[in-house]
Every structure is written in structure tokens, then in C-alpha cells.
Amino acid sequence: MSDYSLPVSAVIDPGTAASERGTFLERLHEWVVTVDHKRLGILYILYSTLFLLVAGAEALFIRLQLAYPHSHILSARVFNRFFTMHGTTMVFLVGMPFLFGFANYIVPLQIGARDMAFPRLNAFSFWLTAFGGLLLYYSFLGGAGLYGMGNAPDVGWFAYAPLTAKSFSPGHATDYWALALIVSGFGTLGTAINIVATVISMRCKGMTLMRMPLFTWLLLVVSMLTLVTITPLTAAQFMLLIDRYLGGHFFDTQAGGSSLVWIHFFWIFGHPEVYVLVLPAFAIANEIIPVFCRKAIFGYPAMVAASVAIMFVSLSVWAHHMFTVGMTSVSNAFFTLSTMLVGVPTGIKIFNWIATLWGGRIRFTTPMLFCIGFLFQFLIAGLTGIMLSVSPWDWQLHNSYFVIAHFHYVLVGAIVFCIFGGLYYWYPKATGHLMSETLGKWHFWLFAIGFHITFDTMHFLGLLGMPRSIYTYQPDRGWNFLNLVVSVGGLIQGIAVLLFAYNFIVSYWRGEVAGDDPWDAWTLEWATSSPPPPYNFEVLPEVHSRRPLWDAKHPDDPDWEYES
């Protein structure tokens, strides 16, 4: 018989009556000064959802402009600001905060802790990130320069030098880009430090590293990677500001400086950054897939090893974004090889997920549907990534719509799908109510159909020679019909996301009551109430395997008898 404990899930002082909860201002104040990881997690997620809608609207305008050649919906300058802001927002104000928001909420619960290692640093990091985002968007009002009217950054999210030099980008647009990201970058660094310290130092008794849920493992790997990923960008942005304001010459070609230095530094950040974005998606899938096919994840140690391998190898592939800058053939060959190699641990994960499904009993709930979409789409995205790693082919495909299709397949098809899955999965834990399954399924199917209409088609535009970052295109190049199709898919996705937003908001009041463990899951966050009390667990748990709740529910067949 087991001699372990799981915490009582009942709250010590349940049911605060509305009249006891204070005025609206008092409650607002509580949220502003909170250091509770759960509340900060929710703040991050609300923040990201807001910017998802903003950046999504920017994308819709872009697609409206490109639906027909020589359109006048957006002028050249405004278009260039929109695609710059769309990319910058999605990466820094949607992707990163969503994923750190999930981490904040779930990791302490999954390791049986009461909070993150440094709660005040946690709050400080959130507000830094939030302020950075607001600073970026203030540029629409305050960026006035030579052109007179306020303007947002318009140099591409990658901001290549020397386009960003004072002489080619007068005014403050570029400065907003650099400063906003420096500020939110420090917030990101703070959260990464916090997650590493929390996971290493605050696990409950018995939870060795190899007994942590894979979600937590992956967020540990992501946070470690973030430490050496976001910092090169911060360094490069300081260099850019030194050039722009102190007369520095880092990227000043007139003084012997080099654009290639910026390009290398940017992609030394930029490539690991995409792994920072995608590994949390894997983390979410690692939780959802086993629960909805009723089997343990297949090959846990290999999944850990593959994640760590990805962390290291991803640091060696950055110049596959630079195959066309004129590196030597040997360099191009090296980066081709390293990029192909990073596909191996990534592919292994897909095999492990399929093997998890194999022999299971699959329930097609909304979170699971999103994860299934993720599996198909991530497979395709990985394969188009292999195509792009073939450097001679990349000499054609680089900077074309094929690349945009590939990375949106990853960012939307894998990451956003997993984010939606994760939101449906953990919403009941955070709010105590389930989201509507019916609306969820409508959301999923509309979004998937729109996604495929847009991004499957987009690959062909790249193959037909259409480059990226163009506000319009010539009508005689054979791109007209495909662009229209791409735009229509965008509208469908927009409608799907609005459906989701409605579901997200309304379910808080009208969703079915969830209880502690609506999905019959196996990790510690489901052992406490929904929502958890501020102290998470009345008694800190002690665990003996990777699935403490499986052990509790199956005392005759506990995991620890099988785990190596």
C-alpha cells in the first residue's frame, strides 16, 4: 500500500461572498500589486490575448492589401509599419508572454510548490514586459521624425543594419523598436531566471528531475535557452542605439563597420528564439496528448534527451537564415548539416507522440483536436524546414513567401494551435469553469480550414517567385489568384479567433462547473481545487513517480513499478 500523501484539495476558507471581496477598485489594486504566480500567469495570458487580436488585425490589413495587385488600402509606408509591427508583436508580445504565462501558472503547481522562487521578481518581470509592449505601440503616436506624422517601426522585425542607421531611418521609429524590446527583454530574462531557480530549487519531496512532468522539463529547457537567446539581441540593440545616438560605428559601413555583424548577432538570437517559442508548444502537447489517449507518454527519457539536444544544437544553426549573404561554400555546408541534424531530435518527438497515441483510447475533445492539428502541421512544418535547410534550394526560397508559409506553419500551425489547446485544457483549472465544447469545435474547424487555405497556398506563391515584405506586386507575374485565396483564408481564421474570444470571455460566467480534475489527468495541478487557493496546496505533496495522480487512482498498478 502506498505511504505517500496528496494534499487536501479543499480550500481552507472556501466561498468568499461577493460582499467580502471589496470594491472594484480594491480588487483591481490587488491584481496590480499581486505577486501570486497564478495571477501573474493570468495577467500574462490576458495581455497576450489582447496583442494577439491587435497583431491579428494587422495581419488582416496586410492580407486585405495583398488580395489584389496594386491595391491602395495601405500605402507603402503604412504597410511596411504593419508587417514590422505584426512580426514584432507576435514574437515578443504574444508568443513569449503566452508561454511564460502558462509557465508561471502551471510550473509551481506541477512541482508541488507554493509559488515561484522569486515572486517579486516575477511581478517586476511581468510589468517590464507589459511596459515594453506599450512603449512599442506608443510609437504609432510618438515616433515622429523626418516624415512628420507619428510612425511605428518600419524596418522589418529583423531590423537589418544599415537600414536602421540614423541616415536611412531618421526619426524615432527604430528607437522605439530597440528600446521597447530591450525593456521587455529584461522582463523576459527575469522570468527565465525565475523559472530556472523554481524548477531546480523548489520541487516537492520525491520529485527528482526525471519525475517532473514534461511540461515543466520543457519550460526549464526553454528558460535556460532564453538566457543565452534574448541576451544577444539585447546586446545588438544596445550597439544599434550606440550607433544611432553616440556616434558609434558597429554597423556603420562608411567607417568600416559591417551589416553582417548585425545579421549574425540578430540570427544568433533569432534562431534559438524560435525554439524558445516552439518548445513550450511541445510542453503543452506533452500534457494534453497522454491524458486524452489515456496512456503515459511513450519514451519519457528520450523526450527529455531530445529536448536538451534541441537546446544545444539549436545554438549552432543560426546562419541558415544567411545562406544568401555570401558565406563560403564550406560555411553553407556546415549550417546545412547542423540544421538537418536539429531535425532529428525534433522528429523523434513526433514519433514518440504517435507511439503514445498508438494503443490508446483517444477522446476528441477540443484541447485534443488542437493537439492533433499541431501534430500534422508540425510534421509538415518540419519537412518544409528540411527543404529550406538545403542551402541551394534556400537560395531560391529565402525571403520568399515559401519561408513565410514555413514559419507560419510553425508559429500558427504548431504554436498557436497548442496555445489554444492549452487554454481549453487549463481554463477550467484557472477559473473553475469549462469552456464550451461546441464553440470550441467550431473554433477548431474554422481555424484549421482557414489556416490551411492560407498557408498551404502560400508555399506555392514562394515557389512562383514572390518575395516577402512587399506592399504590392505586379499583376503580370501569375500571383493574383493565389494571393486572393491566401487572404480569404485569413478572414476565416479571424472569424474563428473571434469565436474563441467570445467563448473565452463568456465561459467564465456561463461555463459548466469544472471541479478539481475535469479531464481525469495525472499531474499535481489537478490535485487541488479549481481555481487553486492562493497557497496552492494545503499540505505540500510528496511524489514517487511521474504521474502522482495515476498512482493515487490506481494504487494496485502504480507508475513507480514501471519507471526506470
Binding site: A10, A197, I200, G206, A235, L246, G248, G256, A527
Partner: protein
């Protein structure tokens, strides 16, 4: 409400995890190392590429004395760490003061070096590639020394008020870790700027 049986066993497992403060500081150091690496790479890449202006060989003097000061401060802070672990508060305060003095000496000599470079040799951050990369790299390091100095001085003040004892040795160890990092970075910067680059 949980339907799971609850038991409260005695301490059955030995459970020791690393100190969260040390882990946090190590993580910060990892991130900072990445920032410094980028500035060092830029410095090394641009060696010899300035189109004009003073070269390192013409204007740089090897700062032996300030390097000795800074590296010795790693030794004095180690003594301070040992002292506070053993609750020898007076000894701790003295060694901490010595560390601060050595750090201040380092900063003073850096300031004097910069004064000479700017006013006597005409080298500023905007003069040429050497100026840009030199001031940004050495300046970034000096900024980290200043932050460390602030942390150390605050601790010294607390100690002078009698508020520090062996219970704080883990926290002070974290500050010392940061300080050792700053010294290690100086070894790299010194080698790259004053030995290799000259």
C-alpha cells in the same frame, strides 16, 4: 473536494535541493555572459579594421595595477565569505571594506585611463571602430563593477549597523558569486583588449 486517501508520513525521504538564490544568480550570470560574449566578438572582429584614428598600440597602456586590484578583490571577498560563515562579523566587515577599496581603486584607474584617452589622445566612442568597441566593452564591464560596488557598499552599511550575521551567509555568497563573475569577465576583457588586440 478530493476523494483521494490522504496520509501524512514522517520524513521518509532525504530531500536537498540547491539554494534558489545561487541558482538564480548562476542563471543571471549565464545571461550576462552571453551579452559580454557578443561585445567581445564585436571587439575581436573589428580589430585592425578601423579606417582612421588612434590604434590600440598607440594609446593603450596595460593596466597592470588596476587588474591586480580587481583580481585581489576576489580573494578578499572570499575571506569575507568565510568570515561571515563562521560568524566573525568584525573580520567580515574588514575584508568587505578591503574588497570595496580595491574595486574603487579599479574604477578610479579606469576613469583616469579614460580621461587620458579622451582628452589627450582624442579617442571617443565615435572616433573609429576601435573607440566604439573599446568604450562599449570596457564600459559595460565597468558598469557591472559599479553595480557590484553598490551591492557591496549596501552590505557594508548593513554590517556596520550590526544587522549581518551567519544566517545571511548564503545571501552574501550570491553577491560574492556575482563579484567573481565580474572579475572573470575582466580577465577576458583584459586579454582581448590589452594583450591580443594591441
Amino acid at each position: 473536494m478530493s476523494t483521494v486517501p490522504i496520509k501524512h508520513p514522517e520524513n521518509t525521504i532525504e530531500w536537498h535541493l540547491p539554494s534558489k538564490r545561487r541558482v538564480g544568480m548562476s542563471a543571471l550570470i549565464t545571461g550576462e555572459s552571453a551579452i559580454f560574449t557578443i561585445f567581445v566578438v564585436a571587439y575581436v572582429f573589428y580589430i585592425g579594421k578601423s579606417l582612421t584614428g588612434p590604434t590600440p598600440a598607440q594609446v593603450l597602456e596595460v593596466p597592470i595595477l588596476s587588474t591586480i586590484c580587481l583580481l585581489s578583490s576576489s580573494l578578499t571577498i572570499r575571506r569575507a565569505e568565510k568570515a561571515i560563515e563562521d560568524e566573525r562579523v568584525a573580520s567580515f566587515t574588514l575584508w568587505l571594506a578591503a574588497t570595496i577599496a580595491l574595486a574603487a581603486a579599479f574604477l578610479t584607474e579606469t576613469a583616469l585611463e579614460w580621461k587620458k584617452l579622451i582628452f589627450h589622445d582624442g579617442l571617443t566612442i565615435s572616433t573609429n571602430l576601435f573607440g566604439t568597441t573599446f568604450y562599449s566593452l570596457v564600459g559595460l564591464h565597468a558598469t557591472h563593477v559599479v553595480v557590484g560596488l553598490f551591492l557591496l557598499t549596501t552590505t557594508l552599511l548593513f554590517s556596520l549597523f550590526g544587522w549581518v550575521d551567519s544566517r545571511h551567509s548564503d545571501r552574501f555568497g550570491v553577491i560574492a558569486l556575482y563579484w567573481h563573475f565580474v572579475d572573470a569577465v575582466w580577465v577576458v576583457v583584459f586579454t582581448v583588449v590589452y594583450l591580443i588586440g594591441r
